[in-house]
C-alpha cells in the first residue's frame, strides 16, 4: 500500500528524519507516536510531498511518488488532516467538503459558467458525495454554517469529512483527538473505526495513548527522527526505549558534578543540596484557573500554590496543558475564570510586560532567544527594565560564572548557538531580570541527554541559591530528579501531587504518558 524506504530529511543542520522505513498494509490502522519534535509530522509532510525528502523514496500502491506536487498525491488517493486545523474558514461547512469532492472532476470554464446539463449533473453528484461525507462524520445539520463558527471538535470532524470527500485510499490523521474531551474522543474513535471498515487505510499521529491503543493494530514510535520501535500498542508501552524516550533516561537521577562550585559562586551561604528554606510566604497561588484556546478548554480548575524558595516541577505528556499553564501565569493568555495571585497581589489578566516588571519571569518553550542579537545583547534585554548599572553588571558576571560557555561566545549571534547553549542563554537572560519567581518551560526539549543533565543541574543550583522556580517538563525523570515537589498534569487537570521522589515512583505517571 504505502512504503517509505530509508527516508532522511534535513533542515539545515537539524536532522528531522533519519533513515526512516515505514510499510503500511491495505486496510490497516497504523499509529505513529513519539515525543515532541520526534519528526512525526515531518514524516506526514514527506509522504504527502509538502516537503521533499533529502534522501530515500516514498511509493504508494507500487508507484514511486517522490517529488510529486501535493495536489497530485491527493488526486492519487492520499488524503490528510493537519495538526493545527486548516479549514477554509470563510466557506460554509458544505462548501468545504464540496471543494474537496470536486478533486477528480475538471474545471470547465465555459461549462461551469453556462451550466451545461452535463456539468449540472456532475455538480449534483458532487453535492451528494459531500452530503454523504457530512452525514458520515455526523455534522450534516451544520452544512450551511460558516466553518469557523463550528465548535473545535466539530471542526476536526469537518476536516476529516473534507479529506474523505477526495475518496482516498489512504488517510493520514495528524493529532485528530487533540483538545477533545473524553466523550468526543470516544466518538472520534468510533468514527475512525468506521472509516477503516469502509476500506480506507489509516495512519494516525496521536499523543493520547488511550486513543491509540483502542484503535491501532500496530504502532510505530519515532524519537528525534529515528524509528525506535514498532509493534502492538501493548508491546510498545512496555518497551524500555519507548519509556525512556517519553519519561527520560534514568542516568539523569545521578547527581551532576561541579554543582557545588557553581552554587558557591552564586554567592549563597548554604550548599545547593541542603534542604530548601522553610516555606515562608506564598509566592504564587492559582485558584480554579480555567483557560481556553478559542473554544478548547485546555486547563480545568487548576489550583496550586508555590512557596517562596521552592522548586516545583509540573510534568505531563504533550497537550496536557503545561505551556498553557505558564502562559496563563505570565499573562500571555488571560484565563476564562479563576485567579492568579503573586506575592499577595492579584495579577489575573495583567499585561505580560507589567507582570515581568513585578519579577515573575517566564522562559518560554523553545527558548525564544533573539537570533540576530549577540549573546550579550540578549542578556542585556533581560535587564531591560532595570536601571542600576552596577547591579546589572554584577548579575552579568554571575550569569557568566554559571554559564561560562556564554562568556566565550559573548559577541556571537544568539541564533548561531547550539540548542543547549541557547537554552542556557534563555535562562541566563531570565536571571538578568532579577526574577523573584522563575517559570521554565520545557528546558530539556530537543537537547541530548548529556545537555539535559547540564541544563537542569544549573537550574537546580539556581534554586540552591534561593531562587523560586516553577519548572514544566515532559521529561519526567529529569525534572523530578532536580525538583522538590512535583505535580502531574493530565489533559488539563492536576491528577497527582507530592514530593518529587514519590511522584516519580507513582505508576500513574507512566499512565499519564503511555496510558494503562
Amino acid at each position: 500500500m504505502l512504503s517509505v524506504s530509508s527516508v532522511t530529511k534535513k533542515f539545515g543542520g537539524l536532522v528531522a528524519l533519519n533513515n526512516v522505513d515505514l510499510k503500511v498494509e491495505q486496510g490497516e490502522i497504523r499509529g505513529l507516536i513519539g515525543p515532541n519534535g520526534s519528526g512525526k509530522t515531518t514524516l506526514f509532510n514527506v509522504i504527502t510531498c509538502y516537503e521533499q525528502a533529502t534522501s530515500g523514496s516514498v511509493s504508494f500502491r507500487g508507484r514511486d511518488v517522490t517529488g510529486c506536487a501535493p495536489y497530485q498525491i491527493s488526486r492519487a488517493g492520499v488524503a490528510r488532516t493537519f495538526q493545527h486545523i486548516e479549514l477554509f474558514k470563510g466557506m460554509t461547512v458544505l462548501d468545504n467538503v464540496l471543494t474537496a469532492a470536486q478533486c477528480h472532476s475538471k474545471a470547465r470554464l465555459g461549462g461551469v459558467t453556462f451550466g451545461f446539463p452535463l456539468v449540472r449533473r456532475e455538480d449534483a453528484r458532487l453535492k451528494d458525495i459531500a452530503l454523504q461525507q457530512l452525514e458520515f462524520v455526523g455534522i450534516a445539520q451544520y452544512k450551511e454554517e460558516p466553518a469557523h463558527s463550528l465548535a473545535y471538535g466539530l471542526q476536526r470532524r469537518l476536516e476529516i469529512a473534507r479529506a474523505l470527500a477526495t475518496q482516498p485510499a489512504l488517510l493520514l490523521l495528524d493529532e485528530p483527538a487533540a483538545g477533545m474531551n473524553p466523550t468526543e474522543k470516544q466518538q472520534l474513535i468510533q468514527l475512525i473505526k468506521r472509516i477503516s471498515e469502509s476500506g480506507i487505510t489509516v495512519i494516525i499521529i496521536e499523543h493520547d495513548m488511550r486513543v491509540v491503543s483502542d484503535l491501532v493494530d500496530r504502532t510505530t514510535v519515532l524519537d528525534s527522527g529515528v524509528k525506535i520501535c514498532e509493534g502492538t500498542p501493548a508491546e510498545v508501552q512496555n518497551d524500555a526505549a519507548v519509556i525512556a524516550a517519553y519519561l527520560g533516561k534514568d542516568d539523569l537521577a545521578t547527581k551532576p558534578t561541579g554543582a557545588v562550585s557553581i552554587a558557591g559562586v552564586v554567592g549563597d551561604s548554604k550548599g545547593p543540596f541542603s534542604p530548601s528554606p522553610q516555606p515562608r510566604t506564598c509566592a504564587l497561588a492559582l485558584k480554579l484557573i480555567n483557560s481556553f484556546y478559542g473554544n478548547v478548554r485546555v486547563l480545568k480548575d487548576i489550583s496550586f500554590s508555590l512557596q517562596e524558595g521552592e522548586f516545583v516541577a509540573v510534568i505531563g505528556a504533550n497537550g496536557a496543558g503545561k505551556t498553557t499553564l505558564l502562559k496563563t501565569i505570565s499573562g500571555m493568555l488571560a484565563p476564562r475564570s479563576g485567579h492568579v495571585t503573586y506575592l499577595g497581589e492579584e495579577i489575573t489578566g495583567m499585561r505580560s510586560d507589567r507582570i515581568v516588571a513585578r519579577g515573575l519571569v517566564y522562559v518560554p518553550e523553545g527558548r525564544g532567544i533573539f537570533p540576530a542579537l549577540t549573546v550579550l545583547e540578549n542578556l542585556m534585554m533581560g535587564a531591560f527594565l532595570r536601571k542600576n548599572r552596577t547591579e546589572i553588571n554584577h548579575d552579568l558576571e554571575k550569569v557568566f560564572t554559571i554559564f561560562p560557555r556564554l562568556k566565550e561566545r559573548i559577541r556571537q549571534a544568539g541564533g548561531s548557538l547550539s540548542g543547549g547553549e541557547q537554552q542556557m542563554l534563555a535562562i541566563g537572560r531570565a536571571v538578568m531580570s532579577k526574577p523573584k519567581v522563575l517559570l521554565l518551560d520545557e528546558p530539556s526539549m530537543g537537547l541530548s541527554p548529556k545537555l539535559v543533565v547540564e541544563v537542569l543541574s544549573t537550574v537546580k543550583s539556581l534554586h540552591g541559591a534561593g531562587q523560586t522556580i516553577l519548572l514544566v517538563e515532559q521529561n519526567a525523570k529529569a525534572a523530578l530528579s532536580v525538583a522538590e515537589r512535583g505535580f502531574v498534569l493530565e489533559v488539563g487537570q492536576l491528577v497527582l501531587e507530592g514530593a518529587a521522589g514519590e511522584v516519580l515512583g507513582d505508576p500513574s505517571v507512566k499512565t499519564a504518558y503511555l496510558g494503562g
Partner: protein, 298 residues
C-alpha cells in the same frame, strides 16, 4: 574613454539619486521588520518635511547656516510626527482588517495630506533655497556636482547614525529584539506600543530627511512625494522587504539601473527597463535580493 567617462558620470548620478531611494526604502523596511505593516503613504511623509522646513526658514527669514540646520531638523521632526499620526490614525486601525485595507487606508491618507498641503501652500510649488554648492567641479575627467556628493554623504551619515542607534543603544537593541520576536520581547518587559511608535518615528524621519535632501535639487510641490516613494518602495522590495542592508543596496541598485538604462538604452524606456529588470530579479529571487526569510513574509 569617452564612454568610460559617461559611464562613471552616469553611475555617480545614479548613486546620488539612489542613496535617496535608499533612505525611503530603509523607512519601509524598518517599519516592516519592526511593526509588520507597510506605510503606503510614505511619499506624503517625505513631502511634508521640506514644506515644514521651508515654512520655518521663511519664518526665521535669515538664510544663515544655523537657521538652515534648524529648519531642516524641524522638517525631519515634523515628518516623524506625520508618520506617527498616519500610523496611529490609519495604519494601525486598518491593519487588523488586513493588508488590503492598509493599502486602501493609506491611499486615503495620502490624498488627505496632499490636498491639505495644497490648501496651505498652494499647488504651484516653492523653490527651496540651495544650501549646498551646485557648481560642478572637475575631478579627473569627470564633472561632478558637489550637491550630489553632499546628498550621498549625508545619506551615508544618516545610515551610519541609524546603525549606531540600532546596534549600540539600549532602546535600539530593544527595537531589534521586538522585530525578531514580539511576544518574547514583551516578556522582557519591552512594551510594544513604545517600540512600534519609536520605529515608525525613526523610519519617518529618514523619509523626511530624504525629502529635505532632494528639496534644493528639486522643486517643492505637494506631489513631489509620489514618484520618489514608489521608487523607494520598489527599492525596499527589491532588496528584500524588511531587510535593512537590503534596502540600502536595493536603492543604490535601482538608481544606477535607471540611469544606465536611460544613458545606454533609451531615455524613453528608462522606467520600462527598470520595471522589467525588477520583475526578472524578483522571479530569480522571489523574496528579494537579500531574502528577509519566510519569517518576514510580507
Amino acid at each position: 574613454m569617452d564612454h568610460a567617462v559617461t559611464l562613471v558620470e552616469l553611475v555617480m548620478g545614479g548613486l546620488a539619486i539612489g542613496s535617496v531611494y535608499s533612505l525611503v526604502a530603509l523607512a519601509h523596511s524598518l517599519i516592516w521588520s519592526g511593526v509588520r505593516v507597510v506605510n503606503f503613504a510614505q511619499g506624503e511623509v517625505f513631502m511634508s518635511a521640506p514644506f515644514i522646513a521651508l515654512t520655518v526658514l521663511m519664518g526665521s527669514n535669515l538664510l544663515s547656516k544655523q537657521s538652515f540646520v534648524i529648519s531642516i531638523l524641524a522638517g525631519v521632526g515634523a515628518a516623524s510626527l506625520v508618520g506617527l499620526a498616519l500610523y496611529l490614525g490609519v495604519i494601525a486601525p486598518t491593519a487588523k482588517h488586513g493588508f488590503l485595507y492598509v493599502i486602501a487606508g493609506c491611499v486615503g491618507g495620502s490624498v488627505l495630506i496632499q490636498n491639505i498641503a495644497i490648501l496651505i501652500w498652494g499647488s504651484t510649488g516653492v523653490q527651496f533655497p540651495s544650501f549646498l554648492s551646485t557648481e560642478p567641479i572637475k575631478i579627473g575627467p569627470f564633472l561632478l556636482v558637489p550637491q550630489d556628493l553632499w546628498i550621498m554623504a549625508i545619506s551615508l551619515v544618516a545610515m551610519g547614525a541609524l546603525y549606531l542607534f540600532l546596534a549600540k543603544t539600549r532602546i535600539g537593541t530593544a527595537m531589534r529584539a521586538a522585530a525578531q520576536n514580539r511576544s518574547v520581547a514583551g516578556l522582557m518587559g519591552i512594551s510594544h506600543s513604545l517600540t512600534d511608535s519609536l520605529t515608525i518615528m525613526v523610519a519617518s524621519s529618514l523619509a523626511g530627511l530624504a525629502g529635505v535632501l532632494l528639496a534644493p535639487k528639486f522643486y517643492v510641490t505637494p506631489q513631489m512625494g509620489t514618484i520618489i516613494s514608489s521608487k523607494g518602495f520598489s527599492a525596499a522590495v527589491l532588496g528584500g522587504f524588511g531587510n535593512i542592508p537590503g534596502a540600502v543596496i536595493g536603492g543604490l541598485l535601482l538608481g544606477v539601473l535607471e540611469n544606465l538604462s536611460a544613458g545606454f538604452i533609451s531615455s524613453e524606456y528608462k522606467d520600462a527597463t527598470a520595471f522589467i529588470l525588477m520583475i526578472f530579479i524578483l522571479m530569480a529571487r522571489p523574496g528579494g535580493i537579500f531574502d528577509a526569510g519566510k519569517g518576514r513574509r510580507a
